[in-house]
């Protein structure tokens, strides 16, 4: 068993399938997807894309945080604050600084939703929003809301960001640097990212179909999710209810291309292998894989090959939940960490929606129905631009 285990004692989430952990679980168990035409952003591409959008407007989100009207919160910060607050409440934390408590948050888009509105015509008033552009801004706002004065950091490794935030949090607890860390990620939808992915021609105009032979690309999404990680000592002292443990983690770089994954999924293979090693597990100990599975032609083939390099023909049950939420970029690793814990808690695997035909090169068929089975270990993948590949392994005990 690992020394200095890392317990998960709280979770918070806001995504296109629900604004609480319970609502997300309910949607997952009832195959209720959050993918639809875009509402809150006026974009030229609105008829050509479908997204995983949170329907509340910024004004509604700000109201739920009791902010006054002339606040300088980006959508990323609003979502992050809501999810992080839930996580801390869920973990029954009254006095945040009763232990050495840190915050590690992830974002890729930061305050781009504000910047893209004002960039070419800042005035005296709107210049006050420039600071909200920076990636650190949402982290600062979450730290202020939660009263965290100690270690605070922000990670941006594109779509693997939140997985790396969770990983650093675990390492800081294991090495005794911190007793408790709130970890996760947040990204709001922005014209910037919609247009970016559009130019790469990897946005699907239909509901995305992860691991399907005829997949057309991804649906972008927006979300935030945070976990509370606590040391064994804190769990013992405060008699905490443990939702699950972070058993292993691995980070590697594909070193192949700025945006494309290598054909044999080298980075993904290395990240999964490292995570298994850290968790001191054999590949067959994993009961379920929550795959990255973005539904782009490149990712799913590359990730599938990496999984096959580890498992050969005995691939464990797997699915991608991206067809529920869309690809929530820097938040994805945290969203799927919450889903992995929910899977462990409820001994259930969530369906890979919209799947019809296996990719010929892989012949891998994901779980397509809500499926019950005893789960002890769940592996979750997150890969990003820049070859950044990360894997987390969650355990029940």
């Amino acid at each position: 068993m690992l020394k200095n285990r890392v317990a998960i004692t709280g979770m918070g989430i806001i995504s296109s399938i629900g604004t609480t952990v319970e609502a997300n679980l309910h949607a997952l168990l009832n195959s209720k997807k959050g993918i639809a035409p875009i509402v809150n952003i006026d974009t030229r591409h609105k008829n050509e894309i479908k997204v995983g959008e949170i329907l509340q407007t910024n004004a509604e989100l700000a109201k739920s945080l009791h902010l006054n009207e002339n606040h300088n919160y980006s959508r990323t910060a609003l979502l992050g604050c809501i999810a992080a607050q839930q996580a801390v409440k869920h973990a029954n934390i009254d006095t945040i600084d009763a232990f050495r408590t840190g915050l590690i948050s992830a974002t890729s888009v930061g305050g781009m939703d504000l910047t893209e509105k004002h960039f070419q015509n800042y005035n005296e008033e709107s210049r006050k929003l420039i600071n909200s552009h920076h990636a650190v801004d949402s982290t600062e706002k979450i730290a202020a809301l939660l009263g965290i004065t100690d270690f605070t950091s922000t990670i941006s490794t594109a779509c693997s960001s939140a997985a790396n935030a969770i990983m650093l949090g675990a390492r800081l607890i294991k090495s005794g640097q911190l007793d408790r860390v709130i970890v996760g990620g947040t990204d709001g939808l922005a014209k910037f990212t919609i247009n970016g992915f559009k130019t790469l021609m990897i946005l699907s105009d239909t509901d995305c179909t992860p691991f399907d032979a005829n997949r057309k690309g991804l649906n972008l999404g927006e979300a935030a999710a945070y976990l509370v990680l606590e040391s064994d000592a804190v769990v013992k002292q405060d008699n905490k209810t443990v939702l699950g443990y972070l058993a292993g983690y691995g980070n590697a770089n594909d070193a192949f291309h700025q945006t494309a994954s290598s054909e044999n999924g080298e980075g993904a293979f290395l990240a999964m292998s490292k995570a298994l090693k850290v968790a001191e597990l054999n590949p067959e100990d994993i009961n379920y894989i929550n795959a990255h599975g973005t539904a782009t032609p490149n990712n799913d083939l590359s990730e599938g090959k990496a999984i096959k390099r580890i498992y050969g023909d005995s691939v464990p049950d797997f699915s991608s939940t991206k067809a529920f939420t869309g690809h929530t970029l820097a938040a994805a690793g945290a969203i799927e960490a919450v889903y992995s814990i929910l899977a462990l808690q409820n001994n259930v695997m969530f369906p890979n929606l919209n799947f019809k035909t296996a990719i010929p090169e892989l012949s891998m068929v994901p779980i397509t129905e809500v499926t019950k089975k005893p789960l002890n270990y769940v592996l979750s993948n997150s890969f990003g631009f820049g070859g950044n590949c990360s894997t987390l392994i969650f355990s029940k005990n």
């Binding site: 420039i130 014209k191 820049g386």
Partner: protein
Amino acid sequence: MKPCYINSAVSISAQDTLDNSSFLENTISFERKLAKAIHPNYRSFISPIASRRMATGVKMGIAAAKKALALAELETPDAIITGTGIGCIEDSEKFLNAILDNDEEFLTPTSFIQSTHNTVGAQIALTLKCKGYNVTYVQGAASFESAVLDGQLLLHENEAKTVLVGGTDELGKYLINDIILAEAAKKQPITTPFGEGAHFFSLSQSKQNNSFAAIKGLKIFNKTTPETIKTKVEDFLKEYALTTEDIDAIVLGKNGDAFDELYQTLQDSSFKSTPQLHYKHLCGEFFTASAFGFWTATNIIKQNHIPEVLKLNTINKSSYKNILLYNQLKGHQHSFTLLTSC
């Protein structure tokens, strides 16, 4: 955490720092609001074809990273960890302008691809074919320190034997003008120019022949006040069995704004009799400017000498063994870094 060792230190900044032959002897002073980096001939680091598509920060980052590895005689590190506050602002601006100018039409992906904050770290990994641990930190003025802390942690955990850490930030062309205007509207604004640069360092778990300094401790914290900063620094030093008297020089991230009060409090109390240094008048203020301070401190230890241009007081020491750095931005993103001779 166990200390780790510094085997090379490379700076590309607004001063002539890449060529290490002199240590801040003939420095430039800035009349204007911008302190742009002095660029090397990138041909010695990057192929001209690749270089043409690269933004300033990426070019500076790759060049500084490659030189840091060459000086440390290290081919491929076990991990690459980078920090950047503003990220790839040049390409972000390019893509934003393209979206806004053409109402979301006729866009090409290149600037979007290169706009993500992890571009520098990724490009270094790609150039070196380095498949090891790779993370990018974007914690404002503590971005570089976050990278160093992660590096020290990897070495401490025995997850790596060698780590390349660095910080890069580029000025960009547009947002910076509004940042300057927004700053100027403040009651006590930043008085140093705004700058840019890339700083890379090769770290190792064990002491090598070429090790010239060690990172003993590093603390990042989110909030403090002039009332508590003194206790905070003393508590930090206590963790390493040191007192303020053991510190041979303190390197401060002063930039002239109202939050310099935090530095001044330390200058007037615990470190009254300590050589006090500043550096942002030389490199400008930017999110990873503290990496210039870090580079300065490693050179002071290596050469046992403080260039005049850094001095805030007239106190000297016969040797510089323990150097403490303190940096923050607008009362946020605080960091203490403790460097020692080895």
